[in-house]
Amino acid sequence: MSWPEFWIVVLRVVATFALLLLVTLINVWAERKILADMQNRLGPRRAGPWGILQTVADGLKLFFKEAVIPRRVEIGMYLLAPFLAVVPAFLIFMVVPWGRPFTIGGNEVALQGADLNIGLLFILAMSSLAVYAVVLAGWSSGSKYPLLGGVRATAQAISYEAAMGLAMVAVVMFSATQGDGGTLSLSEIVERQAGTWGDIIPALEPVLRFVPRWNLFPQIVAFVIFFTAIVAETNRAPFDLVEAEQEIVGFHTEYSGMRFAMFFLAEYVNIFSMSAIAATLFLGGWNGPTFEGSVPAIVSGILPTVWFLAKTYLLVFLFIWVRATLPRLRYDQLMQLGWKRLIPGALAWLVLSTAVISFRQFGPPWSS
């Protein structure tokens, strides 16, 4: 690897990391502000204009607070758990392309932490690792309520990860028909969603000319299942049994100061990166009109990132909207929704979608 290549890799990773921290600052504020609007309140507005520096203020406060270590904790795991939460949260986003690749001095720079050819598997692995943080934090606290939170996390993660994976499989299989063979690389999946459906189905061209070629339209059921599953994966309302404030306070009851802040950070990073993955898989990632030629090159270079952020924030807003609307599920309802609705639904959709794909590719089974 030559030096320019090395620096490009460093630049990609640092830029992705910085983007993630920046959007997290905004997300925490945005969530509080939107929730306030939905509840007819004011929300934060003291720190900075419209209270936009509220997260900075909160972060500084937590940074300077004493991080208490209770006497009966399992000290090793207790200290490790916050890092186990933060690291996978950041790693998940590293494989998501957040802009169109551009060229500096003959070297191509992809706006993506790392373009893994097993991107989706990496995401599944990392989102499973994040559960360890919750379970270990709950267990190592040596206190009953965090333990309950940790146990709930285990059951919830197992139930919903299956549905999430199955929804992903349907998308990957569909995506395989859209290009040259199957792929798990996210940048490849994004590129296969460029253009409109009108280019693919010429018969309906006048109508479909304005419909972007997103996986959302043929895979709408998979999207609904996937979105429900990622809300549960990130332990957000209405699936926030892991940290149900009113009943068990949650797996991080015994954490304070910066260690608590890391769990908090991980939660918000997860919301953003999961929304980004959903936008990449179903909403065409950074694809969108760039008006090349009619606007300056710098604008059409930045526009894909803008489209990506707009799509992701649409889903983040949906996260917040759902949180403001739905009450928390009871534990048995959570399990029922996961095992009796989502997983059978995802399986049925997978079979149906496979049947359609193979029918289109090979014709009816009795033909050959």
């Binding site: 939107i34 306030a36 609007d37 939905m38 509840q39 007819n40 309140r41 004011l42 507005r45 909207w321 759902v322 403001a324 609307t325 739905l326």
Partner: protein, 218 residues
């Protein structure tokens, strides 16, 4: 698809409220220390000890408030007025007056019990302290100053309905201090100004003359 339609119904409610809030609908909350709600007229806030408009204290040290208090948080000791320099119209005045605000249940029975409307409740409610002793309000804290105010956090606030204070106490007009014979015929305090012009309380001589006239006429 029952779940989905119910979900959309719920989302419409929250979304609608958000749009209305952004469009400038009235909020249910206010920025409290900056912007204060108007309290209900009969709000039971902290107590004050009132004065007559001429500056005399209304409290006569009768201890009826202390007797009425179900929380037993009021401590009053009365003392005889100095005839040359009376603190209140009448024989006695409240020499010690203390209310333990940590015990007070803000029932308002002291206000009901007071025969001179000396103790009333205001709209003030911010009395956090860093010291338990500061929660025992003494006469310095409770007694109205000449401007009709007591020491408190927000000096610009109107404490009580001043119009009501000015007019309602016409019925409490005590006689000359102590009833000492040497002060016969000397006006010791002004009558309460109500609507119209109020003349001072007639002295004993005038009153005797009036009653004599009435009997001779009859």
């Amino acid at each position: 698809m029952g779940i989905l339609s119910e979900l959309i119904k719920g989302l419409r409610v929250t979304g609608g409220i958000m749009i209305r809030t952004i469009a400038g609908n009235e909020l249910v909350t206010t920025e409290y220390p900056k912007e204060m709600r108007v309290k209900p007229q009969r709000f039971h806030g902290r107590h004050v000890l009132n004065r007559y408009p001429d500056g005399m204290e209304k409290c006569i040290g009768c201890e009826l408030c202390a007797g009425a208090c179900p929380a037993q948080c009021i401590y009053v000791r009365g003392e005889d007025n100095d005839p040359d320099n009376p603190k209140s119209p009448g024989e006695r005045f409240g020499y010690v007056y203390e209310i333990n605000m940590l015990r007070c249940i803000f029932c308002g029975l002291c206000v009901e019990a007071c025969p001179t409307e000396a103790i009333t409740m205001t709209h003030l409610f911010e009395f956090s302290t860093t010291n338990r002793e500061d929660a025992i309000y003494t006469k310095e804290t409770l007694l109205m100053d000449r401007r009709g105010s007591v020491p408190h956090m927000f000096p610009d606030d109107e404490l009580v309905d001043l119009d009501e204070l000015d007019s309602a106490d016409g019925w409490v007009r005590a006689t000359a201090p102590s009833g000492v014979a040497a002060y016969q015929g000397i006006e010791m305090w002004q009558g309460t100004p109500g609507p119209g012009d109020w003349s001072p309380e007639p002295t004993q001589e005038e009153r005797d003359r009036l009653s004599r006239d009435r009997t001779s006429d009859g």
